[in-house]
Symmetry: C2
Amino acid sequence: MAPTAAPTKLQLVQSNSLPALVQVEIEQLILSGELAAGERINESDLAMRFGTSRGPVREALRGLEESRLVRSEKNRGVFVREVSVAEADEIYDVREALDQLIGQRVAERATPQQLRDLEAVLDEMDRATAVQDVKAYHALNLRFHDMLVDFAGNARLTESYRLLTKGLLLYRLRGLQNGGGLPVSNTEHKAVVAAIAAHDGVRAGRLLRQHAAASRARMHKAAAAAKPK
Amino acid sequence: MAPTAAPTKLQLVQSNSLPALVQVEIEQLILSGELAAGERINESDLAMRFGTSRGPVREALRGLEESRLVRSEKNRGVFVREVSVAEADEIYDVREALDQLIGQRVAERATPQQLRDLEAVLDEMDRATAVQDVKAYHALNLRFHDMLVDFAGNARLTESYRLLTKGLLLYRLRGLQNGGGLPVSNTEHKAVVAAIAAHDGVRAGRLLRQHAAASRARMHKAAAAAKPK
DNA sequence: AAACAATTTATTGTCGACAATCAGCAATCG
DNA sequence: CGATTGCTGATTGTCGACAATAAATTGTTT
């Protein structure tokens, strides 16, 4: 396997081209919420900010458009995408199917070391739950699911899954981030990991799918609470 | 609803920007095999060909890179992607999961009109099989699965699925397109449509997944036959 | 003749400039 | 007074030119 340990920034600049660098930078801006959903993106401003000309920025935006993080209107500019509840619902539909596949594959292939890594994250999440640190829990949750899809050992699956979850992330940023549900969420995680440890692919797949479905239900609940209408 | 009937060319030029147009054009070049897998793409040549400067071409290539149809090496250029058997295998793994979801959803939502459309394509495929027109069958097969994912009524699912199948298309172009198996393939199609007509989501999902698995097996068989070693 | 070094050529990467287009406002006319 | 028309500033779309890099070629030396 390639040395995935810690690619230095120098290596990044040498291997990746400038537009690629700018693309991940803008992506961070969007995912962190600094560029709000729906907001229009000014090419010149970004170019200034990164110390480049508008060319690389435009190329980066085209990449982000393809990954559906922005949408582009001719002669009007590119906008940070807004993900509606309906669209998030669609994403969850696909995600549930993929999560089932992920659970199954991970249960079949997980090494003892990978299992230990998963359990370590689980512990950290327990600690975050104890102190009600929602932000930390959220980050750990992302990391947990990221590890799972990685351990499934299918690059295309990883790619599809990441693309999907990015869209979900965009929705979550709309402010209606749920409050409760952390303990129950982690309980579900533990059940999944237990099935993986038992190398029970069918059960792990089913549980991970159910976890996604529960997550979707929590989203709906939060949305309904935020907008009683 | 907007007039989706027949978008005139004028509307297309007005709504879509030049880089987007160039992108689909290059995509056609790749999918048709005019730009062979592994081949290096010359920006200036393409720009000349489309009568634009290199800017729009570069933007289009960045989009194609994001959709994994090309890969890009810094200071060396962009290359049409080659999809190995292993990678095609990975894609099929994901595709099977999505196909199951597609079958289920279509069985739940399909309208009588949509069912008739599907059956019409089935008939055409029968006719293509009768005269051993592999090329026509291939095109119809793509159309059939395209219709299915559309009828599932989930835009994100469509998007993910199309992205995946494009990769598969790229593999098929490597020449080892199977010869036989057309009749059996269409028999599978018919079983799927029958389940859809019965609005039996579970069965349709299972059958469509099995169809994808069988298709994968046929690919392996063809690959083994082409390269016995 | 083979291996290495220097040079040339082709191609990509980046930039600044100009043209095209749009949103907003002001002036005009009914 | 409202609507329409014509400016105006800002922003995007596109281009041609130049710099940086890699590949190919040639020349040189042993």
